[in-house]
Symmetry: C2
Subunit: 169 residues, 2 copies
DNA sequence: TATTGTTATACTCTATAACTATA
DNA sequence: TATAGTTATAGAGTATAACAATA
């Protein structure tokens, strides 16, 4: 009675009836959400990294700047928590951004173990004038394959998937 | 529940309609498909890898078996092409599967440079009795957050994205 | 000359554990 | 005792380039 709500080919061949359609690999993979997600993520990430090449920044660096733009200043660990990056890895990430003058480290006065990472003026400017337009262009290029309706659908559904939000009834 | 570190500013929030928001929440959300895809892909991949742990196989190994089940036998390079894996990496992947008796290498008679990789009986059995049900359960767990309609939507849209198919008018 | 599989190698990425300074 | 940041290091994963056999 359990309705897994899965693409038929993923249910295995164990579906009683003998309507045995030989699932092709293309069909099975094409209906496996795991695969589709991985492929789509790889494709868009490659394009974003390519587009960012001239800036000396990675796609993840852009993520740090975006988080800081909206919610900063934040500690290194807090930024890492939001981006699923370990604190030891965050050290190098912030090093790069600081060396480029896009963020500054200063001690958090309330807790002097932690840094208070903050966007600099140049960092904010780079975001607005270069990075946002750049990534927006990549996104619209990829999304151009979809109808406007599908674009909205996609983001809403993905947010539900990744956010772990239970399906509203 | 798990926190996948979705940057809060990307999740949505206040939609300032009069174009004076400093390029944050609303606009960023509309352009954040790259993030959403990456997060969703990471989440589902982690769960699939976790579920496959007992089998000694990786999610990618399962992909190889799926491709062979439907379209095999194939050369190592052809399998790699379909899964976006380099031929030098495919050597190790096939090594593992062969050592477990799930596939066999034999020389392609038409082109003796290439191998003809084929699923074995045990390989086919493992797919049907263990791997397909296992991965189906993971998928259904993740997709349970979505309505039936959204599940179908998602796969169709992702296929368009990753496939590079132009938007049909 | 080009291609399949292979190997060796190097490079990237990331996490783990230990250390320091604060709490 | 616990935590933020740091550092060194080790491991996984992957790609690159060269080589042998075959086309």
């Amino acid at each position: 009675m359990e309705d897994w709500g899965l693409p038929d080919p993923l249910r295995g061949g164990a579906m009683g009836g003998n309507g045995h359609e030989p699932a092709t690999a293309a069909r099975r993979l094409a209906e496996s959400t795991g695969w589709l997600l991985t492929d789509a993520a790889r494709e868009i990430t490659l394009k974003l990294e390519e587009a960012l090449k001239g800036t000396g920044l990675r796609w993840r660096d852009y993520g740090v700047l975006v988080v800081l733009e909206a919610d900063g200043p934040l500690s290194q660990q807090e930024i890492g928590r939001r981006l699923a990056v370990d604190r030891s890895t965050m050290v190098h990430v912030i090093d790069v951004l600081e060396q480029q003058g896009l963020v500054v480290r200063s001690r958090d006065r309330a807790d002097r173990r932690a840094y208070s990472i903050e966007l600099t003026g140049p960092g904010r400017t780079l975001l607005v004038e270069v990075l946002h337009p750049l990534t927006a262009r990549v996104h619209s290029g990829v999304m151009a394959r979809l109808t406007h309706e599908d674009r909205a659908h996609l983001n809403r559904i993905l947010a539900q998937l990744a956010g772990g939000a239970p399906r509203p009834e």
